[in-house]
Amino acid sequence: MADIAIWGVIAALGTATFATRLSFLALLGEGELPVWLRHVLHYVPPAILAAIVAPQLLAGAPGLAATLDGPRTAAALAGLAVALVTRSTFATIAVGMAVLWGLTLL
């Protein structure tokens, strides 16, 4: 992508994000979120977070050819277990990386 186009994308994403954050603060809570939108906003984060993570835990191209990547899949499951119990991002990263390094060095 051309340099100027990259700047345009960054500026557009920044502006859209700021507008989203400011939305109800600017209105001082005068507006109310419609129920259906509240539902969508509630379920988008888990869906998209999982969508970002899932391909990184597999080997091969996305699609039917994707297979489990031993060390990465194991490290991710260990990280998930730690995250569910401790709710600490730092502990999740520490344990997950330790498992990944341990398995790849073996």
Partner: protein, 233 residues
């Protein structure tokens, strides 16, 4: 609110931020390093960090830049990741009555998951000094984030590839995702999103957009089903 109360609330916010700082700094460094590794210039990488100022969205944009996705797909997908801020904004606004426009615009710019979560805990404690407490924690997180981003942008390239430091990104997302999996509907939304992004191959890297929409639809359907199930019993 008298200015001494404001200062006190602001300082309490700064203190409340400190336990979060190691995780935030690590995530910020990874985001900076990822942007630089994707081929963005240091200036562009840093602009992403202070203009967008949202780690998950920055990572998504970075990955899509690296994959050669069209600009509109990058903006749309990166923005969908940030839609949740509208919900935070609506909740926070109820506690920002009586503040100046500058305070509200600052709060809007600085709004993040962590600042919102900690401030919400203070709301539930019944405290009234919410605006300046929020600004204290959010501004401190902003400073940590920018410093970490710069460190990542300039030092990231020196980390050997054999350390698989890119995996920190996946683990960070798992760390953010896990607390959201509070019930079956949320877990179903996550499972549907993950499966969609792996098995549905779409042109223009639209997989993530599709995964977000399908995941949300599955979550809503599951919630509706669970409610009806309860009613029948």
């Amino acid at each position: 609110m008298p200015s001494s109360d404001r200062q006190q609330a602001f300082r309490a916010g700064i203190l409340a931020c400190l336990p979060l700082s190691p995780g935030v700094m690590l995530f910020g460094m990874v985001c900076g390093a990822a942007a630089a590794a994707a081929g963005l210039t240091p200036g562009q990488s840093f602009a992403l960090s202070w203009l967008v100022f949202a780690g998950s969205s920055q990572i998504v944009a970075t990955q899509l830049f690296a994959a050669g996705a069209p600009g509109w797909v990058i903006v749309l997908t990166g923005w969908v990741v940030n839609l949740r801020f509208m919900m935070y904004s609506a909740t926070l606004a109820q506690h920002f009555r009586g503040t100046t426009r500058l305070e509200r615009w600052l709060a809007g710019y600085l709004l993040t998951d962590q600042a919102f979560a900690v401030t919400l805990a203070r709301v539930l404690d019944g405290r009234k000094d919410i605006p300046w407490f929020f600004l204290g924690i959010a501004a401190t997180l902003w400073v940590f984030w920018q410093v970490a981003s710069l460190a990542g942008i300039f030092l990231g390239a020196r980390v050997p590839a054999s350390w698989s430091i890119d995996f920190v990104v996946a683990l960070t997302f798992i760390g953010v995702l896990a607390p959201l999996l509070r019930n079956r509907a949320m877990a179903a939304a996550a499972a549907a999103g993950g499966l969609t992004s792996v098995y549905l191959v779409l042109p223009l890297k639209l997989n993530l957009m599709a995964a977000a929409l399908i995941g949300a639809a599955v979550g809503i359907a599951m919630e509706t089903g669970m409610k009806q199930g309860k009613r029948k019993r």
